[in-house]
Every structure is written in C-alpha cells, then in structure tokens.
C-alpha cells in the first residue's frame, strides 16, 4: 500500500462512483479529446483499456447467456444491454481509428523521438513500425533503389527542410475550463491573456491549449 492508495481511500468521490462508470467517463473523455486534438495524445495509462476489454467480454457472455433462455421478460433487458454494448464498442472503435489515422499520417514523426514513441500503445508502436517498413520497402522496390545512394533517405533534413511531416500544432481547438485559471495565448500581432472562469468555453491554438489540458485545467470539446 502506498500513498496513492491511502489518498484514494479518503477521497470522497472514490467510493461513490463505481469503477465501471469512471472507466466509461475516462473513455468518453479520451475519445472526445483524441478526435479534437491535432496531434496524437498519450495512450491512457493505468490499464483503462484492459478493464474496458474485460467489461465488453463480460457483457458479450451475458448476452449469450440471456439469449439462451427465451423468456420474454429478459428480452427487454437483453435489448438494453445489447444497445449499450454496441455503443461501448463504437466508442472504442472510433477512438482507436482516430489514433490510427493520426499515426498513419505522420508515422515517421511519431517514431522519431522517445517522447513521441511513448505516446503510442505497444500494439500501435508495432503497427506503426511495421507500416513504415512496408512503405519504405514499397518505395525502394518501386523507384528509390535506382536512385543515387545519397538520395535514398526518407528523413533528410538538408537545407533546413525536414522530409518528416509533422502535425500542425497551431490549429485551433475548443476547450472547456475545468477551474478558474489564466488563459494565455500567442497571437499574430500581440499576445492575449484572460482570466478564465470554470466552465468557460474558449477557442485557441492547440499549442497554447496543450498546457492547460495536460495540467487538467481544461478539457477538449
């Protein structure tokens, strides 16, 4: 038992909200954030997806069990559970697809530094590495191998232009403030500042919003 466990025990919100409900909230949050953020966010830590997977498995088993007895009374409950299950699966699917789309778009960028690599889950990392290898191989066999050796790289940075395309961190996002905080933003002509109140909704550049989101002062919407 470490300090986190003790703190959790005295946290009044800990026992009132069951784990499943909080997992669903976390998943929904991660899904909304991932879909609005221009760059890939961190893979949720703490075994969220393991728990969600287990839950889905359990519900599928339950559905199978309930289909077994054709009692009309359980039929309604069955439809409710199946609907909920479909929605749950949709959330996970949409979340994973949003991430894969971003990874595919800027594969080399996300593989280039350890910090960026750590954002991917193990499976995503394996997928991205393999995908990049396939692409490189494809280029090589299609035309690149007939090039002079100095031109065969895919990650040249000569002439101050990097061949590695990166996501646009300056694109705009909407955020909702979760507590009163100072919102700073860099503008084209001059920088702006405002005292944000809780539940204010602001639009600003992702590069400015990122810090607020990471510290938990705001969430993407």
């Amino acid at each position: 038992m470490d300090i986190d466990d003790i703190l959790r025990e005295v946290d009044p919100t800990f026992h009132s909200v069951p784990q499943e409900t909080r997992d669903l909230q976390d998943l929904t949050r991660a899904w909304v954030a991932e879909r609005s953020a221009p760059e890939l966010l961190h893979w949720p830590a703490g075994g969220l997806f393991e728990r969600i997977n287990d839950n889905i498995k359990r519900q599928i088993e339950k559905v199978e069990e309930m289909t077994g007895d054709m009692d009309p009374k359980t039929n309604f409950a069955l439809i409710v559970i199946q609907t909920e299950l479909e929605r749950f699966k949709y959330l996970v699917r949409s979340y994973l697809r949003a991430r894969i789309a971003k990874i595919d778009r800027h594969t080399l960028h996300y593989l280039s530094t350890d910090e960026l690599r750590s954002r991917l889950s193990e499976m995503e990392l394996a997928y991205a590495t393999r995908h990049q290898a396939l692409l490189h191989n494809h280029y090589l066999s299609s035309f690149l191998s007939s090039f002079p050796p100095v031109l065969q790289n895919l990650n040249d940075t000569a002439g101050n232009i990097s061949m590695i395309d990166a996501p646009d961190l300056e694109s705009a996002v909407f955020i909702r403030l979760l507590k009163d905080t100072l919102v700073e933003s860099r503008g084209v002509d001059n920088d702006g500042e405002m005292d944000g109140r809780e539940s204010d909704i602001v639009i600003l550049r992702w590069s400015d919003a990122k810090r607020l989101v990471e510290t938990g002062c705001a969430e993407l919407i």
Partner: protein, 214 residues
C-alpha cells in the same frame, strides 16, 4: 523540349486526380521509370561537372557551374518528392480499400479479366496495380489483420457511424446467401426486406449487398 521536372509534374497531376476518384487508375510505370532516369542522369551530370575540380570546388570563383549544380540538386530532390507523393497517394488509396474490406487483388484481377475479354486480350497486363503495389496490399492486409486480431471484440473495421438502433431495416440489393444470426438463419435473396441486428449485417452493407433503410 521538355524541361527538368515536367515529368514529375505529370506524376503529381496524376496523384491529384487519383485523390478524387473512387477507383485506382492504372499505375504510370513508364512515367515513374522516366522520372527516376532523370534523377540518375542529373546525378551523373553533377558528378561529371565536379570531376575536374578534384573536390576543391569554390562556388564564388565559378558561379555558372555553381548555379548549374544548384539547379540539378534541386531538380533531383523535387523529382524525388513527386515520386514519393505519387506513390503515397496510391498506397493511401489502397489502404483505404483494405480498411473497407475490399479484396483489392481480387478486384484488380477481375478488372483485368473484364478488360481482356472486351479487347480480346490485345493488352496483356491491364491490372491497375504495379507488382510492387500488389505486394504492398498483401502485406498491409496481413498487418491490418494482425492489429485487428488484438481487438477481437471490437471489429475495428466496423461502421464509424454512432449506433442509434440495435435493429435496422435493410433491403437486399444482391443475393448474399444465408447468414446466421442469434435468432436463426436468414436467407438474403434480392429485393427482399428484413429487420435485423445492425451488428450482424454491417459487413454486408459495407460490401454493397444490403442497403440500410430509414
């Protein structure tokens, strides 16, 4: 007289056109080879230009040569970009087809057969994919299957529309044979209509066998 980069430009135009098409136009093997050849020729030019200087070339004393070198240098890189863009656009398209569950190789083979029967085999290999692309599709399909396999309960390639109803009305557009559902078997014959569980028929809708109503 064609200028440096004209061929590369053509490739980019092909790529741009491909983005707005639903199918994949034939691979421009000849053009790709020509652009790659241009790069090799330019590289040879650079080598022969630099040869007399024995590695002691000073751009400020011989500005004409320096300019030629710069133009060659940039043209080579531009051609490379054009080639990369062209191939990437096509692989993106192929990946999209793989995600949507089409059997891309089968599709292109069918097309080949179809075209051949009409032109009486006048034109041998009319597959719109290059052999390298066929390899790529096969390997990417395997990769995707492996990634999907780790999420067995989710069906990653399923619909990205949020599910509203558990059951939907569908009309059968093409005979799809018999499918098994947890409520028994359904025989999907053309023009019939069914009220089925969305999860059971999603694949068939994506492949164009069924049409969702309402």
């Amino acid at each position: 007289m064609p200028m440096y980069g004209d061929l590369g430009n053509k490739l980019v135009q092909h790529a741009k056109r491909t983005q707005n098409l639903t199918h994949l136009p034939p691979y421009q093997a000849e053009l790709v080879r020509a652009v790659a050849r241009e790069v090799r020729d330019l590289d040879k030019d650079v080598a022969s230009l630099l040869d007399p200087f024995q590695g002691s070339f000073d751009p400020s004393t011989d500005q004409a040569t320096a300019c030629t070198l710069l133009v060659n240098h940039l043209s080579m890189r531009r051609n490379k970009r054009c080639l990369l863009a062209y191939h990437r656009t096509r692989t993106d398209k192929l990946e999209e087809l793989v995600w949507n569950g089409y059997d891309v190789l089968d599709l292109s083979a069918q097309k080949t057969r179809g075209a051949n029967s009409m032109t009486a085999g006048a034109d041998g290999g009319t597959s719109s994919l290059s052999p390298q692309e066929e390899d790529y599709v096969r390997q990417y399909g395997d990769l995707l299957a492996a990634y999907k396999g780790q999420w067995t309960d989710i069906d990653l390639t399923g619909s990205l529309e949020p599910p509203r109803d558990l059951f939907i009305d569908v009309r059968v557009l093409k005979d799809a044979g018999e499918i098994q559902t947890e409520y028994g078997a359904i025989n999907l014959t053309k023009n019939s209509q069914f009220y089925v569980r969305q999860g059971d028929v999603e694949r068939l809708i994506a492949q164009g066998y069924l049409q969702k109503l309402g």
